[in-house]
Symmetry: C2
Subunit: 463 residues, 2 copies
């Protein structure tokens, strides 16, 4: 059988595949830092060459920022399902460098208590994950001379710096990029060894405000007592965001558009192998701290949040300064779920703040921060069940439709710009330290990730 | 009469006195910045030379920091009262320089709606105030050949940088510095034209703490919901410091040692000419914001505070970062009154914070910050009433014993190290912009300040 031959070839070629990934990891494609612009270009060139080597038409496409890589294969086979695969070749900066146990761009295999890992910046996010798909294609092509699906490859180099070129490029090349379904490999497994398809992503609302008190910074010897201190006002407003009895956000109307998770999905989540204690303990928590009526997984995947990400004002140097500052600043983000409307929510939060301003205090808003609604995947499509079966076969463990606490705007863009559903399958683990020192990707994730995509492509071609 | 001749000479010599002050103001004696070390030295030399020119024995005395200036006059007159006069020749830094209307160390007379002012860094704090006393001595000496009191001059050059050498120097030179009473000219008048003797100064307690939540900074896509956010915890704790119904501090036992202001003193304060509306409006307040049961003046002079001077944590750069930070930081100071014990209060505040920590949060305290109790002047001493009469005569307005919201530790050191009471008389106005751009000293403050000290010295010699 063709698939079994493909899987065998993946096993025998694993060392070569790992070497290829190491090659890509050696390229310092940090997208946020202009000093690495040539490296980003080099990574794009590397990917074009690698796709070409497999027999896939591909080219580098310039943008105002770092280039895209677009490739096509199987166009002659009009009856085969047509998928687009998305990944990104850029990586996060490496600082603080002194916390790495080895140079971040000199990747190496390391033995750890959890098995062999590929250590290096980008090993997991997203070069390693991206290459699981490319290697699956390589094996299919080598064994069968062709791929089971028609495939469009779409790699960007600006994901870690806000993807400024992405929407214009997708709009300008919509016809070329359109496919039946987008595949994305940039997510984690719900727990080690449990294959996972993300069925929902939270949305995001960003806002920032400044509480203004006195006209100028005051000396607390002169105004301490009668003076209004905006740091106090800000603290009181932040405290008022929450109801500590229930753990809920206390902003009026905050939960409009939030839906309860259906019973059957909840049961699946409860049995998905999520290691709640490990997840909490690993960062120093003995218990979850969100809404008391919901489990940790629900708090993370299916409930909205209002989070303070930054708070500052007054003096923060050494020693003390008896200042009553004129201003106090606050940055917030909300994670959105269900049908929560970012614009409506922004108004509710702003009203909450404005309603609580004492006399002589005012608020100034930053109007440059955006919002995006939650995304719910169309898991009713037959491709999702086909992929789930393929993943379950590979991992010998029932694959789960899981939620995701994060926000991946690209999934929404495929829908809004290209009218395509997206399916997110990833093999990262929570301890991969993406964005942090000592990033790694389990060799098992890489190996079984390649095998998983070989099976998924096979399954999609049969559905 | 000798005093009248002295006052006349002060009037005719005002231009010369102003020129001398300008000379001193041209010296850039910024004590916090090592780049100006030679300038501090130069200011000390200038003062030694000026005292010598009057006929006063004086010398520069080295310290590990900037030098002291110590002078003596009238030692042969063992029967005369012996006063010590304290002032400081160092000044605050000048930044932001672009907000000055002229170079800060090129002083000049300027006409303003409130009369002629001497504009320049240090004009009020404290070179101008210091020179009111020196010029009074000069006039006395010129007219009468001697001074009516025995006087020790004691000038330091580190007041604006925390006076690190002061206590060791006072301890090492206690015998030399001891006098009957310390005079300090570093305070303001309660309102324009109302001569003021400070009868009480608030004390100070400084503290700083860090709320620690998760072990590391977290991504709100992974932990937003179940994650404990120390910025929220800190905000809730700061909010809990206050009772908004009454405006009081809500820390258990906070008001222990606080006494009500005696009726007669309160009546005096009510009639001291304090411009409450102007004081509040000038910084953007329409009303006082402290304890509702007390007047603005009482809130400022006679009531304790717990003030947040700095708050910071998380991300404060451009745009947004979806971080749940590991730590949140807070700097506080308390102004103390009456018999409040700084050490006991520190324990109460720390207990308040620790009692409110949720599970999985901890607190780390900075143990390097000190405290000092409030100081109540010994206004029962006859010198105080004598000085009050002298000031009333000069300003043709009854002088008042006023409170002061600030803390001047030197007054306490005279008491604790040298066993001396201190009397604080100053001629600054609230709009002098000390520590700020465009510092000035009213020419009227300078002129009548000199005349005031001439009268006070006369009155002390007769008491």
């Amino acid at each position: 059988m063709a698939l079994n031959d493909v899987l065998d070839r993946i096993d025998t070629e694993l060392d070569a595949a790992t070497e290829r990934l190491m090659d890509l990891l050696r390229i310092q494609s940090i997208s946020t830092d202009p000093a690495f612009k040539a490296d980003c270009d080099k990574a794009a060139d590397w990917l074009v060459a690698d796709l070409n080597a497999i027999g896939i038409t591909a080219e580098k496409r310039e943008t105002p920022g770092h280039p895209m890589v677009v490739g096509h294969v199987g166009e002659e086979n009009a009856d085969a399902p047509h998928v687009l695969f998305y990944g990104h070749y850029d990586v996060q900066p490496v600082d603080p460098l002194e916390l790495w146990n080895r140079p971040p761009f000199e990747p190496q295999l390391e033995e750890t208590p959890n098995g062999t890992v590929i250590r290096g910046r980008g090993a997991s996010d997203d070069k390693g994950q991206l290459m699981t798909f490319v290697e699956a294609c390589r094996a299919w092509k080598a064994v069968n001379g062709s791929l089971p699906c028609r495939i469009t490859f779409f790699f960007e180099g600006e994901e870690e710096s806000g993807s400024p070129s992405l929407i214009p490029f997708m709009e300008a090349n919509a016809e070329e990029l359109k496919a039946d379904l987008a595949l994305i490999c940039d997510t984690s497994m719900v727990s080690r060894g449990v294959p996972s398809i993300s069925s929902q992503l939270r949305g995001m609302l960003k806002d920032e405000f400044t509480i203004v008190g006195p006209r100028i910074d005051l000396h607390s010897g002169h105004y301490g007592g009668p003076g209004l201190n905006p740091l106090r006002t800000l603290s009181e407003i932040v405290a008022s965001f929450y109801d500590n009895e229930t753990g809920r956000v206390a902003v009026d109307g905050f939960y409009e558009g939030v839906h309860e998770v259906p019973e059957d999905q909840l049961r699946q989540w409860q049995n998905c192998g999520f290691d709640e204690a490990g997840y909490l303990n690993s960062v120093g928590y003995s218990q979850p701290h969100g809404e008391k009526a919901y489990s940790t997984l629900e708090q993370q995947w299916a409930r909205p949040t209002l989070e303070v990400n930054g708070l500052w004002g007054g003096y923060n140097g050494a020693g003390s300064k008896t200042v009553i500052p004129s201003e106090a600043h606050c940055k917030i983000t909300c994670r959105l779920v269900g049908d929560m409307d970012p614009d409506a929510l922004r108004s509710k939060i702003r009203k909450h703040v404005e309603d609580r301003l004492p006399a002589d205090a005012s608020v100034r808003w930053n109007n440059d921060l955006e919002g995006s609604p939650a995304a719910v995947m169309n898991i009713a499509r037959p491709e999702f069940e086909a992929a789930r079966t393929a993943l379950s076969d590979e991992w010998q463990r029932e694959a789960v439709f899981c939620g995701m606490g994060g926000s991946i705007p690209i999934a929404g863009f495929f829908s809004s710009i290209l009218g395509m559903d997206a399916m997110l399958i990833g093999f990262a683990n929570d301890d991969d330290a993406i964005h942090s020192p000592n990033e790694k990707y389990d060799l098992k994730s890489f190996h079984k990730g390649i095998r998983s995509w070989a099976r998924v492509l096979d399954a999609l071609s049969r559905k």
